[in-house]
Structure formats: C-alpha cells, structure tokens
C-alpha cells in the first residue's frame, strides 16, 4: 500500500484507492495467506460477474414457470433441461440461484454505500465537534450496536415495506435494514480517527489559515481517515449477505416474483428437505456460503496484511524466530459480527 501519508496530491486519486490496496496485498502476501486472498478474490469476482451477466447465464428468468408453453413442473429433480431442478412453485432453481447473485450484489452495494455515507458523515461531525452531540450520537450507536442485528433488520423491514415488497422496494428495504445495523461500525471507526486527527498539526494549520469547517472535515480529516474503510467494507459486505439471507429466511425478504433471493428460497425449501428433496436447498445455500466465503477471505487477508500492529509483531518475532502470522485481528474481525 502506498502508506497512509497525508499527501494531498496522492489522495486526490480516490477511485484508485479502493483498488490499490487489494493489488498491493496480493503482491505482499505469501504462502497460505496468498492462497486465501487469491481464492477470496476469485470467488468474489465470480459473484460479481454472475451478478452482472445474469441475463446471459441464466436459462430462464427468476419467476418463470414455463417455457414455450410447456410447464416446468414442480419439484423436478436435476435434469438436462433444469440442471439444478425446479422448486415447489415450479421455478427453475439454476435461474433463481444465478439471479440471486444480482440481488445479493445490489443489496450489498446499496447497503454498504449508504452506511459508509451516513456513518462517515456522522462520525466526522461527531468526532470533530464533540460535546453533547457527540455523547448522544455515541450513546445511540452503542445502543444500536448492542441490539441483535437480525432483529433490528426485521424491525426495519417491517417499517420500510410492511413485510412485503416489489423488486426495488424489496432490495432497498433489505439494504436500508442492513444499513441501520452497520452505520454504528463506520461511525465508531471514523469518529475515533477524527478525534485522533483533530490534534494533528496539519489540522491546526488548516484552522489557522481560516479554512472552513467543511473543508477541514472533508479535505483534511476524511481523506486521512479512510485507511480502514476497505477492510470494514469487506467484513460488512459478507455479513450483509448473511443478514439478507437471514431476513429472507424469516420471510421478510423480497417477493419471489419481483426478484430472486437465496434466503427466501431456503425458507421455501424447508418442507422439501423434510421429504428428502435436496436440490432446492443445496444450490441456493452453497451460493450463500461461497459468496460469504469469498468476501470474508478477502477481508481477512487484508486485515492480516494491513494491521500495523501485526507487521511490527512479525518483524520483532523474526528476531526470536517464532513467526506468528498473527491471527489475532482475525479473531477480532470474527467477533465483530
């Protein structure tokens, strides 16, 4: 990574910043670490590609029960025509799995973008201004943080959609539900960074030259506090897939006719499982696992590679020849969810 040095010229290339760490990480990683990172990147790319090219890849649409006037039939086992079989409602499982990737990616993007924007804004303002606003915001986000995230998402989805929804409404309500859960995380991190940076000389200097608060916040503090964002981004993205699936599984997802969603499909597959039909649950389930796995592997590896504490640790351990490729922040990352 090009190091978090506060140089205005360098940080102007914002769009590159999100990609740069990943490439740098791959080059820096070794052994198992590299294997994990590369596997994660491959799985994540597959997810994104499938999401983008879903119309080309999927044999049918997500809500199609017949083609050329011929009904698919319900609960058909996998065959040449339906490689993953059909569901109890007569949908093609393969198509629903493929289209489900699009729903998942859309929800992740919407949720993460919204929570970053909100969390960063609140964190910057709260950390910089301090005072009672800071206290209240911290207390509220702490309270939300302590709340079981699935329950919070359920409450939000009742609020937003009343439990049932169209494609756009469903995706947005899932995304907003997840956003509410994640805003506190971004808030905490950005707030902590802001408080640290507030005391830095370059912020003082900006103040002295009479820069407006807005410029100090976004031009000086924000640009230097984004170091940890890609990391939380990946951790949240994987968690978002799980929350979305959990919502769908509880029956609060997206209507099957408006979009395809893996968690909902698993919910419908519950009865199938009891009667021994495996294809309706295995395929959407594996899709969830692989998506979460891919994103988590990327996040974990970046976590390991980017932790300054770890780098120090590694260097000092080399002298004593005991290399702990320290998993400890990984453990932290795990407990975060």
């Amino acid at each position: 990574m090009s190091q978090p040095v506060p140089l205005g010229v360098e940080s102007r290339r914002e769009p590159w910043y999100l990609r740069l760490p990943v490439i740098a990480d791959v080059r820096r990683s070794v052994g198992l670490q590299r294997g994990m990172l590369v596997t994660g990147l491959v799985l994540t790319s597959i997810l994104v590609l499938v999401a983008i090219f879903a119309p080309l890849l999927a044999p049918y649409t997500w809500a199609q029960t017949s083609a050329d006037g011929v009904s698919f039939g319900t609960q058909q086992p996998p065959s040449a025509k339906h490689p993953f079989g059909t569901t109890v409602s007569g949908f093609d499982v393969a198509s629903r799995v493929i289209w489900g990737a699009r729903t998942a990616v859309l929800v992740i993007l919407a949720a993460v973008v919204m929570s970053i924007v909100l969390g960063v804004l609140l964190g910057l303002v709260s950390g910089y201004l301090g005072g009672w606003l800071d206290r209240i915001l911290t207390m509220i986000t702490d309270a939300i943080y302590a709340f079981p995230s699935l329950l919070l998402a359920i409450v939000m989805s009742i609020v937003i959609s009343g439990g049932q929804s169209s494609a756009f409404g469903g995706i947005m309500s899932a995304a907003i539900s997840i956003t509410v859960v994640y805003v506190p995380q971004y808030f905490r991190v950005i707030r902590a960074e802001t408080i640290r940076l507030k005391a830095e000389p370059f912020v003082e200097a900006a103040k002295v030259t009479g820069a407006p608060v807005r410029r100090i916040l976004f031009g000086h503090i924000f640009r230097n506090s984004t170091r940890t964002l890609p990391l939380i981004f990946t951790l949240n993205a994987s968690d978002a897939v799980l929350t979305l699936a959990g919502l769908g599984f509880m029956g609060f997802g997206i209507e099957p006719t408006s979009a395809s969603e893996w968690g909902y499909d698993l919910n419908r597959a519950m009865a199938d499982v009891s009667s021994g039909l495996w294809w309706t649950s295995i395929f959407p389930g594996v899709a969830i696992v692989l998506s979460v796995l891919g994103i988590t592997l990327v996040g974990e590896s970046m976590n390991d590679l980017n932790d300054p504490r770890l780098r120090r640790r590694r260097a000092s351990k080399k002298a004593t020849s005991a290399d702990t490729r320290g998993d400890e922040p990984t453990a932290d990352a795990q407990e975060v969810r």
């Binding site: 207390m139 309270a143 302590a146 939380i232 699936a245 029956g251 649950s281 932290d332 975060v336």
Partner: protein, 378 residues
C-alpha cells in the same frame, strides 16, 4: 495456581492478545470506552456501567416504538383488510391508538416500567407470558449449543495453537471461516437432510416427540427444561428422546460460535504459551501436551469467555434462525409466527424484551470481565 495468576494478572498489556484487542477491534464496543477516566476504582466502574443500562434500554425502547409506529398502528396492520373502516376505527379507539403519539409513547413507557409489554392480537396472550413459556426453550437450546461450542472450540483451538502455522492450523483456519460463512439455517437444513432424512438417525424437528410430550405432562411442577424433567421422570427412553431432538439444532447453532471460539482459543493459547511460566515449566520437563492442557488452557480461557459473552446478541439472532429451521418452539420460532400473522404488538414486545435481555447480559459480562481482569476497568 501460579500460572493462573501470572496470566490473568496485569501481565504484559502490550501483548494485545487478550480480551477484545485493538485492530478491527475498534468495531467491538469495549466496555471501557464508556468510562474513559483512568484510575477509578472497581466500584465506580461497576456503578457507571450499571447506570448505563438505563439509557441503553431507553434508547432501544424509544427507537423500536417510534419505528414500529411510522407505518401505522398494530390493529390496522393485523386486521387491515378484514374489518370495515368503522369497525377498525372503533377498535383503534378502544385500544387507544387514536391518541397523540406522545401520549401513547409515555403510556407505553409506563407499562414497560411496570413489566407490561402488551398483549398479542392473534392469540390474546400477555407478551411477558410468551417470554416465560417460550424463553426457557430458547435458553435450553442456547445452553446445548454452548456445550457444542466448547466441544469444538477448546480441543480444536488447542490443536491449532500447538501446530501453529503448520497444516492442521491452516485446515482449522479454513474450517473456522467456513463455519462463519455458512448460515445457521443452511447448516441446519444440511444436517437435517443428512441425519434425519437420508440416514434417519435423528428426528426432523421439534423439541420432543408427541408421545414424549404426553409423558411430560404427568410432571407436577415442570422445570423450564425438558431434559431436567426427563431425568426427573427417570425414563431413559424419554431422556434419549429429548436429547435426540436437541442434537441437530445444538450442532447448527454451536457451529456458528464454535468457529469464533476456536480462533479466539488459538490466539489466546499462543499468547499464553509465550509466557515465561510456560517456559519455566517446560524447562522443568513438563511434556508439551501437558503444557497446553494443564498450564496454558485455563488462563487462555478467561478472556475467551468474556469475549464469547459479548456474542450474546449474535447468539440470539442465530437462535431465532435455528428455531425456525427446526421448529423448536422457543422465542425465535414464536417471533417468526407472529411476524407471519402480522401481529406487531407481539413482535415489538418480543424484540424489546430480547433487547432488554441483551442489555442486561452485556452488563453481567462486563462485570465478570472487570472482576477477572483489572485492565478492563481503566
């Protein structure tokens, strides 16, 4: 004894292995961020921490109340299409939903302070009664799953720590990530598919078989736990029945935390194995395996357990999903039921009560953490 003291004590704080640790740990709400003042005594910390429960609960209750009211009142939601507008208005008036929202809110706060979380519409039960009758089932499930978590976490964590950076460690690491990446309900369905449907070894769902339930009703003062009751009846068949129903749900939920536990265990064991008292024990000729099992495990467990305590919120969410998967009639299962019947008073009540439980549990965990580890209190 000495090894416990030297590891649990203030030891070497720069070795951030223990407890929550920094790093991404910033995301974890460390109890300490709330009271930053250093040099305070234990009592002061406990008092502040205790008082903080109230604003937390207050904020949660307020947030949930107003959120649920944005969409309208519960009566319209539950009975919407089924009654005429006049009847609806009448019902709303009778329940007080036509009063100003602030009045309703204050009223609701008052009710909660008296322990009244409302009455469900679909089956006209007090929400608190739902908690007492179904909460125990959830608690039982969570306890079983904790057993699984420990059974997975401790031995595998030891294995990983002893083989640090060799292949067993790598395999276990991937296993832990997989355990995280697999949603509990998918794992539950898989287990069901294999062990109940294909192999037919274990029951598909529920807490107990129908015949077992009949037997259970003979008990005069039933305990909240089926297993205890079965043991009291002294019927091995019944005990087997209860346990066989519990295995798969406990496995599904236990795996969720098992992966986390394993890694925390590994990390903390590696931390404790670096300590000098281990070195000195090794120099006295204590075998490697005994070092891990007898000397390092206990001190390593202390921080792991406090961190696991902070996972309560996660575990409750997991329990909700597990119960739905296995039709385990606990709070989560009921929550799902009430959600489908759009009984939002029940949903709101259960959600709020779970929030209160989480807030209280977090407090207890913080207290335990403070008692065990003096560093938490700063």
């Amino acid at each position: 004894m000495s090894e416990i003291n030297s590891a649990g004590g203030p030891g070497s704080p720069q070795n951030g292995v223990l407890t929550t640790g920094p790093g991404v740990g910033q995301l974890v709400p460390p109890p300490s961020t709330r009271s930053r003042r250093r040099g305070n005594g234990l009592y002061r910390y406990l008092l502040v921490r205790f008082l903080l429960i109230f604003p937390t609960i207050f904020i949660l209750v307020t947030t949930v109340f107003f959120l649920m009211r944005i969409t309208g009142d519960p009566i319209t939601a539950a009975l919407g299409g089924r009654l005429t507008p006049d009847q609806l208005a009448e019902r709303r008036h009778a329940a007080g939903y036509d009063r100003p929202i602030i009045v309703q809110y204050l009223n609701y706060l008052g009710n909660i302070a008296r322990g009244d979380f409302g009455t469900t519409y679909s089956d006209n039960q007090a929400v608190t009664k739902i908690l007492t009758s179904y909460g125990s089932a959830t608690l039982e499930l969570v306890l079983y799953s904790l057993v699984i978590t420990f059974l997975i976490g401790i031995p595998l964590g030891r294995l990983a720590a002893r083989n640090r950076d060799r292949w067993p460690d790598a395999v276990l690491r991937v296993f832990a990530i997989l355990a995280y990446a697999t949603p509990v309900f998918f794992l539950g369905l898989l287990l069901k598919l294999v062990f109940s449907v294909k192999l037919g070894w274990l029951p598909v769902s529920g807490r107990i078989s129908a015949s077992g339930e009949v037997q259970m009703q003979q008990i005069l003062n039933p305990t909240p736990f089926y297993l205890l009751d079965a043991i009291r009846l002294g019927s091995p068949a019944l005990i087997g029945d209860v346990l066989s129903h519990a295995i798969l749900p406990a496995l599904a939920l236990g795996m969720l935390n098992g992966g986390v536990f394993l890694r925390l265990m590994r990390t903390n064991l590696i931390g404790t194995l670096d300590r000098q008292y281990i070195e000195s024990a090794r120099s006295r000729g204590v075998s490697e395996s005994r070092l891990v099992t007898k000397h390092a495990t206990k001190p390593a467990l202390i921080p792991v357990i406090t961190v696991m305590g902070m996972q309560i919120a996660l575990m409750l969410g997991g329990a909700v999903l597990t119960e739905t998967t296995f039709e385990w009639k606990g709070l989560g299962f009921m929550l799902a039921q009430y959600m489908t019947s759009r009984d939002y008073v029940a949903v709101q009540g259960i959600v709020m009560m779970l929030a209160v439980i989480v807030a209280l549990a977090n407090f207890v965990v913080d207290v335990i953490a403070a008692l065990i580890d003096p560093r938490v209190r700063y």
